[in-house]
Structures are given as C-alpha cells and as structure tokens.
C-alpha cells in the first residue's frame, strides 16, 4: 500500500530523485565539524518555527509589546518554552554560524569552485547579525531599549552618512514606536525573505558542487 502510494507519487512528482540528490548524495570522508552547517540550518528552522508561533501573541507597539511578551512567558501554555527556544536559539544561531564559518576557513573550503557558496555564506552571516540586532529590541524592556539606543548610536559614528543611518534605523531622531514597528517588520519580513533566498542558493551550491574534503598534506 505504502509502496503503491509512493510509486504513484514518484511517477507524477519525481520526488525520489530529488530525495536521492539531497539526502543520499556521495560525500567524502570528513569529520564532525562538517555537520556545523546542518546544525546552523537546524537552528534556523527552530528560529523560524518558534518565531512564527511568537507572532500569534506578540504586539509590536510600545504600550503593549512588553505586556504581550510577559503574557507569552507567564500565561500561555508552553509560552515560556517557545520564547525560551527562540531566545536561546538566537544565541545558538550566532554561535553555530560563526563556528561553521571558522571550519570553512580552517579547511579552506571557500576556494575554487566554492567561492559563490562562500559569498552567500557571508551574506547569511550578516543577515543573522541583523536578526540578532532587530530581535533584541522587540521585548521592549530596559535592556532592549538601551541596547538599541547604543546600537544605533554606534551606527551614527559612521563618517558622513552616520546621521542619516541613525535616522533611517530609528525612523526619526528618537527611538520611538516607529523604531519598534520597523524593527519588527525587518525582523519578521525583510530578513526572513532574504534569508530563505540566500539559504536556497547556498544549499543548491552545496548539493551541486558537493562538500569539500579534508585537505591533505600534499595539497
């Protein structure tokens, strides 16, 4: 029965060859550090799932943001878990992304023919930082408010365009409701959209070219 259904589907979708290309592809003999990319992807999926769940209750408005976060943490069943996974998952995400990058540098995996994989990876690193920065403001507590005050002030130090950058980030001179709303928009729409596109290219390249092997002494 199951084989019949999967045959029927495969004839129409060709999913088996897709499955084999993605999951049953040949890889060189490598060590555990080569799983850091997959670990990062796993953390990203965790962030996406828990993030989507958080938007059910979270309200990005100065008079409700903090209270809605408190409501999630203390009133909603498993809310503490969902928020906790998103909170600590964010740190894990940064950590894993950087470790993954260190591994790529250490084994020289960025070299020909994988330059584009590396470039998209650099883009992904910046996006992950963007996620961290924008997400930090959303709980709208003292730490969030002052961290973003300082963070946007740091951007202001940029020569010539610093003031413009600060104004664009904050949506004005001060850190206000506009800032919170746009950080939310960036956090849940702009960045995820870019992230998905770049991950798509990144993974396409990983599968198309195949992963690098551990360099030998002769190379």
């Amino acid at each position: 029965m199951v084989t019949q259904i999967s045959e029927w589907l495969d004839e129409r979708l060709g999913w088996r060859s897709v499955w084999e290309t993605i999951f049953l592809r040949k890889v060189p003999k490598v060590n555990w550090s080569y799983t850091l990319g997959s670990a990062t992807l796993f953390a990203a999926v965790n962030q996406a799932v828990t993030g989507i769940l958080l938007t059910i209750y979270y309200v990005p408005s100065p008079d409700q943001a903090y209270a809605s976060v408190q409501y999630i943490t203390t009133q909603v069943p498993a809310g503490w878990l969902i928020r906790g996974l998103h909170h600590y998952g964010a740190s894990a995400m940064i950590l894993l992304t950087v470790l993954h990058m260190v591994r790529v540098i250490f084994y020289g995996s960025y070299k020909y023919p994988r330059e584009m994989t590396w470039f998209t990876g650099v883009g992904l690193l910046l996006i992950v930082f963007g996620f961290g920065f924008s997400g930090y403001l959303l709980p709208w507590d003292q730490k969030a408010f002052w961290a973003t005050t300082v963070g946007t002030r740091i951007a202001e130090v940029t020569p010539l365009v610093g003031d413009a950058i600060l104004r664009i980030m904050r949506g004005g001179k001060e850190l206000t409701a506009i800032t919170l709303a746009r950080f939310f928009g960036v956090h849940v729409w702009f960045l995820p959209a870019t992230l998905i596109i770049l991950i798509g290219i990144h993974l396409y390249l990983v599968i198309r070219i195949g992963i690098s092997s551990v360099p030998t002494r002769e190379e």
């Binding site: 209270a67 409501y71 009133q75 909603v76 498993a78």
Partner: protein
C-alpha cells in the same frame, strides 16, 4: 558477509535518524498546539453580582434598558466594557433580566415600543417582551441573567 553488515549499519542509522527527527518534531509540535489553543481553553471569567441600578427605574410591563460597566481581562489588556440588559417586571417585585444579544448570530436586539416587541436588525429576528421567540430565524428565547434585589438595588449575576 562484510557487505551485509554495512547494510545493517546503514539501516540502523536511517531508523535512528527518523526516530530522532520524529522525537524533535513531537517535542516541538505538541507544545506548539498547546501554545496555540491555550487561551481558547481558558474558562470564561466570572464577574459575580453586577449592580444595574435602582428598581424604581423599571417601568411596569415594559422592558427597561440598563447599562453596566465591567472590567474584562483579555490577554494582557484590561478593557472596560459595557453590558446592556433589558429588565422586565409585571408586578414590581419579580424581575427578569434579559441579555440584548440576539440568540441567532449575536447582533444586538432593540425594544420597539410601538410594536411591543424586541427586534433584531441583522436577520429580522423578533422576540416578545419576555424574550420569547416570535418570528425570524432565532433558535431560542433571549438569554436571561440571574437577578437579585438588595436595598431596592437590582443586581445580575455576570458570567
């Protein structure tokens, strides 16, 4: 022999991967369901006795409109809401308090004095002055509140 062992190891890894995957999926999925439906399962707030006003305001034989303010906690917001109640008495001693919410689909009914009937503007539901069904698609009479009178003050039990 060697080939056979390789295959077994591969099968084991495959099963283990699926098992861990399902475990993680369930570990995420079940709390997610609880998280989503949580507020829906919460018991409706009870308000206790709500004071409507003096019984002297109630006209004999005519449903009289009373409004009362209640505070309702919805999620992280405390709202002040107004509830509207029609009170009817035929003898000045026994009172019935009716909700003005149409039992059809929740619109608000109005007392039409000329016709001696409650009328719902949404789908032409009609109730008599005691809240009984007269015409239209309404499934049951208007809901009633429990009433008590203390020191000539009218109270209803809010829920």
């Amino acid at each position: 022999m060697d080939d056979k062992q390789q295959l077994k190891r591969r099968d084991f890894m495959s099963i283990a991967t699926w098992a861990i995957g399902i475990l993680i999926g369930a570990g995420m999925g079940l709390p997610a369901i609880a998280y989503i439906i949580g507020p829906a399962l919460r018991e409706d707030e009870a308000f206790g006795w709500i004071r409507l006003g003096s019984i002297s305001k109630v006209e004999l034989g005519i449903p009289t409109l009373f409004k009362a303010k209640i505070e309702r906690q919805t999620g992280w917001i405390v709202n002040e809401e107004e509830i509207t109640v029609y009170v009817l008495t035929e003898n000045g001693r026994d009172f019935i308090a009716m909700s003005n919410i149409c039992t059809h689909l929740g619109c608000r009914v109005r007392w039409i004095k000329d016709q001696d009937q409650f009328f719902c503007p949404c789908h032409n539901g009609v109730f008599n002055k005691a809240g009984g069904v007269v015409a239209g698609p309404v499934p049951r009479p208007l809901d009633r509140f429990e009433v008590k009178v203390e020191d000539d003050q009218l109270f209803i039990l809010g829920g």
